[in-house]
């Protein structure tokens, strides 16, 4: 049904998107918690940095990544010299770029549901003998589970569609960094490949729709499972 070219791009996209989302998840929960609950100096700065990928052109993000994580960059060079790890121009690099671009969306979804958690419930847990971490894991985390699900799907969808930062940072290498958007771009640049480009575009839309529907279904199920009964959307 799918051509080898399409299969390769699809599988690579799923791998890059999946790793990007999972890798971003725990930092996103941590940062959301800090932003929703923390009171510390320079909070506005953290907020700004986290949200930058939403407003800064993706090419700029890709370029900054190339400078920082490239073979001669301040982070990339030691990584290569000491551990032999190269990020630029690899699929791992594509995942880093996708993760960074998806990060603010994920933080927003989690933060939104964190702000809806009734802090009086956390107080009640404290009076029942739960310490800070205990309260987080036994009360806060389950209560924001729907938000986390939404954040994962949103982040995954964003990572799948990542183009500008990816192509700038890791280029367009077949089988390594040519995800679906990059493959589509390649086809769009190739004379006479309109039909293939159309198929790939359709495939991208289908994958995105599946992610969206899955998010809705899972979020609803989670909400019901934790007893919120759909009355509080994340």
């Amino acid at each position: 049904m799918l051509t080898p070219f399409e299969t390769e791009a699809l599988l690579l996209s799923l791998k890059v998107g999946g790793i990007a989302t999972l890798g971003a998840l725990i930092p996103a929960i941590l940062i959301s918690y800090l932003l929703a609950r923390g009171r510390f100096p320079l909070k506005w700065l953290l907020d700004g940095i986290v949200h930058a990928p939403l407003v800064v052109p993706p090419v700029v993000i890709g370029y900054l990544l190339l400078i920082g994580l490239g073979p001669r960059g301040p982070i990339g060079a030691p990584l290569k010299d000491w551990f032999g790890i190269t990020i630029a121009f690899t699929w791992q690099g594509a995942a880093v770029a996708a993760g960074i671009m998806a990060f603010p969306l994920m933080v927003r979804a989690i933060r939104l549901s964190l702000e809806q958690v009734d802090m009086r419930l956390e107080q009640a847990a404290t009076t029942l003998g739960a310490g800070r971490w205990d309260v987080f894991f036994s009360i806060t985390l389950p209560m924001i589970a729907p938000g986390i699900v939404v954040s994962i799907i949103l982040g995954f969808a964003r990572a799948l569609g990542e183009f500008g930062a990816t192509i700038t940072f890791v280029a367009n290498i077949p089988g390594e960094t040519r995800t679906m958007p990059l493959a589509l771009y390649t086809l769009a640049q190739t004379p006479g490949a309109e039909a293939q480009a159309g198929r790939l575009a359709l495939l991208s839309v289908v994958v995105a729709l599946i992610a969206l529907i899955a998010s809705e279904v899972i979020a609803r199920k989670t909400r019901r499972a934790i007893g919120l009964h759909g009355e509080r959307a994340a």
């Binding site: 009734d118 009086r120 419930l121 107080q123 009640a124 847990a125 404290t126 009076t127 029942l128 003998g129 739960a130 310490g131 205990d134 036994s138 009360i139 389950p142 209560m143 499972a225 934790i226 007893g227 919120l228 009964h229």
Partner: protein, 366 residues
């Protein structure tokens, strides 16, 4: 025994409260109008609010002593807090809500099965909080606090969000807690009727200060506190004991603490049962001689202690000593026609006596 002495500024409001209960006082009620600082005070006891300075001792345990540098954090205080709105964890079913504190603090005075039995929770165990009625939620909240091995049970208007029918459903459970489990209770309320049913002592609060700590009977009998204890709905709260039952008439005789006797309709309780009564001021009339041909059975001789005319309106309140103080609400005109004055002997005619029927009487060992 509960000993509280805290001082704290909350914006324009200052909480400056001292409470010292007797050693045999197991239920202390905190009474006062909304905004008088009751909730701030209990939050301070629970450790949710940090006072500028203070000392809080429950039994033998010092929870806070700012001079000695002792401050036990909220999660280690073991204060079973029953919140006004229940605050059940929505993602846990009733069973897991109940054992949340027990898991962390260890088993306390009662086991899970005892609590389930006491509060009649068995049919609810598998349900999630959203599927519970308001009364059921409060019962679960009480159970959860009780199972958390508490030093003190703190109840912040646990009945406030319930209609009177549900209140009647919960009150007996609270009375059973007092009688069957040794945990001291601090009960916050602005309803004297609730408090009168089971509190040993009442701390009266006004504008962040504790004005008086005493028994319900003595507090409601104090003229100077009457604006705070509530004038129109108030009357006297009395303790009495069933000393005689007469099945033929369907009546029973109650003996008040001062020795005065009352005849009231029979209640299904054994002789010797200690019970709480309420005699509303508007149900008490005054006569100078004992009227003979009258339908009122309860005619008690006494002396006028004090008279307090309303500042506006035609009514006055008279405090009469019939062995215990009772209130009478009559017109200023009657007061002057009868030329009432402190020390004058009178007869108090009591039209009806409200017996607290929701709380089971507490048999008192002699």
């Amino acid at each position: 025994m509960i000993s509280i002495d805290v001082k704290t500024r909350l914006g324009a409001f200052t909480l400056d409260a001292q409470i010292e209960t007797g050693a045999d006082s197991h239920t202390l009620a905190l009474y006062g109008r909304s905004g008088c600082g009751k909730t701030s005070l209990v939050n301070t006891v629970a450790g949710l609010l940090r006072p500028d300075q203070g000392r809080i001792v429950i039994g033998q345990d010092v929870l806070l002593d700012s001079q000695a540098g002792i401050e036990i954090p909220a999660q280690k205080r073991r204060i079973g807090y029953v919140f006004q709105e229940g605050r059940l964890f929505p993602h846990l079913n009733v069973h897991n809500n109940l054992i949340y504190g027990q898991r962390r603090n260890g088993e306390g005075p009662i086991s899970l099965s005892q609590a389930v039995e006491l509060l009649d929770l068995a049919p609810l165990l598998a349900r999630k909080p959203y599927a519970l009625s308001g009364g059921e939620r409060q019962r679960v909240a009480i159970g959860r606090a009780l199972l958390a091995n508490p030093r003190l049970l703190l109840m912040d208007e646990p009945l406030a969000s319930l209609d009177s029918h549900r209140k009647g459903e919960i009150l007996p459970f609270i009375a059973r807690l007092r009688d069957e489990i040794g945990v001291p209770i601090l009960y916050v309320s602005h309803a004297m009727e609730e408090i009168a049913q089971f509190a040993d002592q009442v701390a009266l609060m006004e504008a962040g200060r504790v004005v008086a700590v005493d028994t319900v009977e003595r507090l409601t009998a104090r003229l100077d506190l009457h604006p705070l204890t509530g004038r129109y709905e108030a009357g006297a709260f009395l303790s009495a004991r069933i000393t005689e039952k007469n099945a033929a008439d369907g009546l029973m005789r109650l003996t008040l603490t001062g020795g005065a006797k009352l005849l009231v309709p029979m209640a299904d309780r054994p002789l010797g049962t200690e019970m709480k009564l309420r005699i509303r001021a508007r149900d008490v009339s005054i006569a100078l001689q004992e009227p003979r041909d009258i339908s009122i059975l309860n005619r008690l001789p006494g002396t006028v202690i004090d008279i307090r005319p309303d500042t506006d309106g035609p009514m006055a309140e008279v405090l009469i000593d019939v062995g215990v103080p009772v209130w009478s609400r009559i017109t200023k005109l009657s007061a002057s026609t009868l030329s009432l004055s402190p020390g004058k002997p009178v007869w108090a005619l009591i039209k009806s006596v409200a017996i607290d029927r929701t709380a089971p009487g507490r048999p008192k060992p002699d």
